[in-house]
């Protein structure tokens, strides 16, 4: 009766190797759907703007010029894109193994917290300090995410719930540390008043990311090159190595994976650890590239945006680069909105609408693929 019983595990592996090629008309239809739904999303945002009396053209114009219009704008976009892309790569690795990590906000915070602790403690030459900070951030993020795999693979607790809950615990760990003078709270001169938002001491310059380009009002850090490099590495690992194959097999059919000698628990917790490591690294990159300090609310939605960028990229690993760029640009664009008199919070709504607009056509594409696959293997769906 069921497709899974009627067919041997091979189809799952076949999907893992190559999704079935669809007729051109299907791709055209998906493309048209994508265009329509993105237009609808922009239309919704424009409607929201015009009912509140703003001009959509002005606002969208300001957002485009604020994200790509000048060197300053482009630098802001790329500096945002780096950490978002790192988070998205991690989210993608987990998703491929069938696990959904939504704890990136917490993993970023914990990564940055331990990163700054190391950066303030060591007194080493430039390269070594930076490497130590980034490595610590990645390891801390990985450990934080692994708490969720521990609960998943020993107690059966859904990793979605536990990663979500661990976010809020992570925020409080950071808040605790930056509010304690004996931990990481900023040293202030005698008699000065503690700032409303407590923070850590700033990192020494030895712990700053190298600068790629610099000019009046902008400083492009190297997070974008690091992130793009890791994206290429991850895409290669997923598509061309035994590890990547096992990961995708576990994600598509854990039962078939176990029968062929692959442990879903081992592969899954590895994927979750990598996911956390990349989110932690994103925290480290934010710390060493732009923030230089850790404060309450450090992750500031980078985690959610990276996660959404990964969801938008869907099944094509390298599509995560343009989708992260889109989220980075939206973030940079929101920075200039205040000058137009429009609340930058509209950008959150735009991000959500973009995700919906891209998700629906991809869903259609996956359905067509599944149907084509089932036809090819001669399994009929009830």
């Amino acid at each position: 009766m069921t497709a899974a019983e009627a067919s041997p595990p091979r189809p799952a592996a076949a999907v893992a190797v190559r999704p079935p090629r669809l007729p051109l008309s299907d791709y055209l239809r998906v493309g048209a759907l994508l265009a329509i739904s993105i237009a609808a999303a922009i239309g919704c945002a424009a409607l929201l703007l015009s009912v509140t009396g703003s001009s959509p053209a002005t606002v969208f114009g300001a957002m485009v010029s604020g994200s790509f219009g000048s060197r300053v704008a482009l630098t802001a976009t790329l500096n945002h894109t780096g950490p978002i892309l790192l988070v998205a790569l991690g989210a993608l690795a987990a998703t491929r193994s069938g696990l959904l990590n939504i704890g990136q906000e917490g993993q970023i915070s914990i990564g940055a917290l331990f990163g700054v602790a190391v950066g303030l403690a060591v007194d080493a030459p430039r390269g070594i300090t930076l490497l130590l900070i980034l490595a610590t951030a990645a390891v801390a993020g990985a450990i934080w995410a692994s708490l969720a795999s521990l609960l998943r693979f020993t107690r059966g607790g859904s990793e979605v719930i536990t990663t979500l809950l661990l976010n809020f615990v992570g925020f409080q760990v950071v808040s605790f540390a930056v509010n304690r003078p004996w931990l990481l709270q900023e040293d202030l001169p005698e008699g000065s008043v503690l700032s409303a938002s407590p923070q850590s001491n700033p990192l020494p310059p030895a712990g700053h990311l190298p600068t790629l380009a610099q000019g009046p009002g902008f400083r492009l850090n190297s997070s974008i090159t690091l992130a793009v490099g890791l994206a290429l590495v991850l895409a290669f690992l997923l598509a061309r190595t035994r590890w990547g194959f096992e990961l995708r097999t576990v994600g598509l059919n854990p039962r078939a994976a176990r029968r062929s000698g692959v442990s879903p628990a081992l592969v899954g917790s590895g994927a979750l650890a990598i996911s956390g490591a990349l989110a932690g690294l994103a925290g480290g990159v934010l710390l060493t590239g732009t923030a230089f300090r850790v404060n309450d609310g450090f992750s500031n939605n980078y985690g959610w945006e990276g996660l959404l960028a990964a969801l938008v990229a869907g099944s094509v690993t390298l599509a995560v680069i343009p989708s992260s760029l889109l989220f980075g640009a939206l973030r940079a664009g929101s920075g200039v909105l205040a000058a137009t008199g429009v609340s930058p919070t509209i950008v959150g709504a735009v991000q959500a609408l973009v995700v919906i607009a891209v998700t629906l056509p991809l869903l259609y594409l996956n359905r067509r693929r599944l149907r084509a696959l089932l036809q090819r293997t001669g399994v009929s769906r009830t």
Partner: protein, 302 residues
């Protein structure tokens, strides 16, 4: 001392009430196997709509109704995206939360409003009981809906056919499907019920408790409600207990410093989440989650 205790009990119950409304709805939704993280977005939208509705109509009651309707509306998007066309339910929930916070903060910045607040209602006699009297019997009007919703949810889960079918759908959707129970329909209905209560919760927060709308005013209470359901082991009384505990923790965090007690606020803020994680780690098999929680049902594919 007695006054202090009365005050803390009162504020614990007030905070617990907002959590409990949302948690009751989330409990029903989760029993049907759907993990609705858009409860936060539904609460926030409901809170905004109730505040704006009360301003536009001049009546807290109409505003409350509008808030509840918007809560159901948000849950309808969630239900139809996740259990009709089967977009991943967590993705849907995250996106709806993001959309809710973006749209409400944006509208708040763009429109001026003066929300109307519910007045205090005092039940004569009962409200004079020492310590708990004020807390339980002198509150803003929507609070008293709890006395209807808690028994209603009990009846739904324990005594109604619909509730039994929700359990079937949450524990073994394939078996439920084979018995002719429409799995996705029941899940959508459970989410609508959750949205109704999330709307009540948000509306109670804005036009009941506070009398205003502030950006992101639900401040993760939707997630605390989810934590309460998990902590309560997916049972009604466990959920009620969880919301009281978490409401108490928040009340203590606010009131203890004023009483000269030094505390670590971060521990109290993290308590609900830690308690839920501990529950996942420690709960026995009998009080486990619905077997199909968070899994999309596809007929014929296990």
């Amino acid at each position: 001392m007695i006054e202090d205790i009365t005050l803390i009990v009162d504020s614990s119950v007030r905070i617990a009430a907002t959590l409990l409304f949302a948690a009751l709805g989330e409990l029903v939704a989760e029993r049907a196997g759907t993990l609705n993280i858009s409860v936060e977005g539904a609460m926030l939208s409901g809170a905004f709509a109730a505040a704006y509705g009360s301003h536009a109509t001049g009546s807290a009651y109409y505003g409350f109704g509008i808030g509840v309707a918007v809560g159901i509306g948000v849950s309808a998007i969630q239900a139809n995206l996740s259990h009709r066309i089967r977009v991943n339910q967590f993705v849907t929930g995250l996106v709806l939360n993001l959309l809710a916070i973006g749209v409400t903060s944006f509208l708040l910045a763009e429109v001026k409003m003066a929300p109307v607040q519910f007045g205090l209602v005092r039940i004569p006699g009962l409200a004079s009981i020492p310590i708990v009297g004020d807390a339980l019997f002198e509150q803003r009007a929507p609070f008293f809906l709890l006395y209807a919703f808690v028994p209603l949810v009990w009846w739904v889960l324990k005594r109604s056919r619909w509730g039994l079918e929700l359990d079937a759908v949450g524990e073994n959707p394939a078996a439920a499907d084979a018995n002719g129970i429409p799995v996705d329909l029941r899940r959508r209905q459970a989410i609508y019920f959750g949205g109704l209560l999330a709307g009540v919760s948000g509306a109670y927060l804005s036009v009941g408790l506070i009398g205003a709308f502030t950006p992101n005013m639900t401040a993760l209470r939707g997630f605390i409600a989810i934590a309460a359901v998990i902590f309560g082991g997916w049972t009604l009384w466990g959920t009620v207990g969880g919301t009281l505990l978490f409401g108490g923790a928040e009340a203590l965090r606010v009131s203890l410093p004023a009483l000269g007690v030094t505390i670590t606020p971060q521990v109290l803020i993290a308590l609900p989440y830690l308690a839920a994680i501990a529950a996942i780690a420690l709960l026995s098999q009998r009080r486990r989650q619905p077997a199909a929680l968070g899994q999309t049902f596809r007929r014929g594919i296990t």
